[in-house]
Symmetry: C2
Subunit: 399 residues, 2 copies
């Protein structure tokens, strides 16, 4: 690490400036780079040569109005990042490059009762499979982002006690995976990664401040503030599920009464339908039935929406984000749940805060978390362009 303030650090900064400009635009000629970065043409010429020699960038001829300009674009295999997402029932892996393109992505079911060792074995295997499938050079792997479905202390990397996956409590997933893959691994919880995923590739593009609400077995939120995930000093920011909606409401697993979760999370909502719809109902099933017109399921989903809306209204008053993105299984219900949410927000949030808020369904579905893991890996390797948006990433159809 060289000293900051030296000439070489300036040079490095300028290299990054150029790379960022190219990434944002997709491809640029040198003259365009000079204009957008404010650097002189001579400097750009030098920097492009250096980047080309280093393999970070590719140069292809173009036809233009004057001398033939050369189009500069990021070379696809300059660096590879990997996203791994452990869900409650699935394991997902994605491989991407520095140009924010997803090269490959795969998902497989994961047994909830699997031991952590088994889980990591499967993850390692799947990563290896995707790497050889895409034919990229293993040595090009720059970093890995890892998502876990539970509270994780980002400092120590230790998984907290209420993890959905039993038997994983107290493990250090990042360390474990790092040991197996031999590259830096960065970990975060699923709500935060979902937020990041939707921010970079989904419904949050072009926005700097958003909340991603994930409704599944519990209710959590990932907050993006100024384009970055906000975790709070203690790492527990975004616990919207335990906002109190009714002081004398049902008892929540957290010990309080009337938390949002007790009105919206699968574990509290599904029992309402068990007497009428059977005991092996899942959230997915409820959503499907509701879309097919089942009145009971519709009613339940609307009620859930209203309660979520109350929580979102509070969040909106406090944080005034420009967008709220709904993720998790529930998001599949579309307007059936979004309508009541918007209605509730409109009623309970102060008008000036609600006015410019848009409530959207996640665009990535269950992929939000893996793609967020990818984005985490990118951002941890110093890619500060993630929020500058208008990223034209090609997200291949999920296989």
């Amino acid at each position: 690490m060289e000293t900051p303030g030296s000439q070489s650090s300036l040079h490095r900064a300028n290299l990054e400036r150029v790379v960022r400009a190219v990434r944002l635009a997709g491809s640029l000629t040198q003259a365009e780079i000079a204009r957008t970065t404010g650097l002189s043409a001579a400097t750009v010429s030098n920097i492009v040569r250096e980047l080309k020699d280093g393999g970070t960038v590719e140069v292809t001829p173009t036809s233009a109005g004057g001398r033939r300009a050369r189009s500069v674009s990021l070379s696809g295999d300059a660096g590879i990042v990997i996203g791994v997402d452990f869900g409650h029932t699935h394991l997902r892996v994605a491989v991407g490059n520095l140009a924010h393109q997803v090269l490959a992505e795969e998902s497989e079911p994961l047994d909830v009762d699997a031991s952590s060792t088994q889980g990591f074995d499967r993850a390692e295997e799947l990563v290896n499979r995707l790497i050889s499938a895409t034919g990229v050079d293993r040595s090009k792997i720059a970093g890995v982002g890892l998502g876990v479905p539970g509270p994780i202390d980002v400092e120590s990397g230790t998984l907290g006690s209420t993890a959905i996956l039993p038997g994983w409590t107290g493990t250090k997933p990042a360390e474990e995976l790092r040991g197996r893959l031999g590259v830096p691994v960065h970990v975060d919880n699923d709500a935060n990664l979902g937020a990041l995923g939707e921010l970079v590739w989904g419904s949050g593009r072009g926005v700097r401040d958003l909340a991603y609400i994930k409704v599944a077995s519990g209710v959590g939120a990932g907050l993006v503030i100024n384009g970055k995930i906000y975790r709070g000093p203690g790492g527990t920011a975004g616990e919207i599920g335990h906002i109190t909606l009714d002081e004398s409401g049902p008892v929540c697993r957290c010990g309080n009464r009337g938390c949002l979760e007790t009105f919206a999370a699968a574990r509290y909502v599904l029992p309402l339908l068990q007497s009428s719809h059977g005991t092996d109902l899942t959230m997915e099933g409820v959503v499907r039935l509701a879309r097919d017109g089942d009145p009971g399921c519709r009613r339940v989903i609307a009620d859930v929406g209203r309660h979520i809306g109350s929580g979102v209204a509070n969040l909106c008053n406090l944080l005034n984000p420009s967008r709220v993105v709904l993720g998790g299984d529930l998001a599949e219900a579309g307007e059936l749940v979004l309508g009541p949410i918007r209605e509730s927000v409109g009623r309970y949030a102060i008008p000036s805060a609600a006015r410019q808020l848009s409530v959207l369904p996640g665009a990535l579905g269950g992929r939000a978390e893996v793609l967020g893991a990818l984005a985490l890996a990118l951002s941890e390797m110093g890619d500060s362009t993630l929020l500058d948006s208008t990223l034209h990433a090609t997200t291949p159809a999920f296989t």
Copy 2:
């Protein structure tokens, strides 16, 4: 404005680095500067000479173990910033320097019915008085921070409609004051400035994330996230007063029911005591009576505290700040109100979020907003050291 990425911008950055190091430490020898900034001794030598010639910095001899080291410190009159705070009943002005020292501060009553023109006349007058009192050079004024007690659109600078001061709606206070003083003026609302003041000089020192809750005629919060005021994309973040605590509670001026404000703000709470304690009661009076043992006032204050605590618990679940600072008249009640707040937070916030939260009274009382205005002026002129804390500012007794 020169291009970023050039050598001269590097030089400028290094100048700032040195200034920052000196400000943080109070005074340093050149060798110490070199060590803390990572710059070489030669560079530091050049930069210090440049700063000394420019008058930004003063060099005084010291005795040390080797060659006599020269102690470098910011020269007191290198630049002056001014804070102006319009309160509901007071006008306050403070003068400070770049070393984060408050040179003079004064307050005078302001008639609520005063026209905005009158208000600005008074402000201009008071600023002029303090400037000549401190004997600083007018041309050294680098910027002004201005606080107004109402919703202000920071972009356009227009005061919103619910301002406490009647007849000020629609004015552009920053423009107005800029016209009179001839220097850049930056404006924000009182809650945000209070937060900034407590962050830099008060109960928020050493912390990066805090919420400043101001309870007065209404209830508002200023949020500091990552050491900076967070206003939200629409500029209305921090509206904790309109969090819904009881869907069927009293009707609030915002049109909803059961907002925190209806349980905690002076305008809703004072009427509760009017039949027993007379109609010309103020919040200040209630606090005084409560401290003297009046059971009714104590009860009311405790109830207010409990409700605020509920709101803070929600905030805490969402943002997980490391500190909550209570400001406004109510803060004078001390433990009478803090106790119930803490109790309520402990009950309603999830333990992991509440664990490392401290709820403190503001250390600056009614001065928080002016000092925050001072800090705003400093930060707007590119002083990014405000949060790096351990600032040993000397805050003279309030005159």
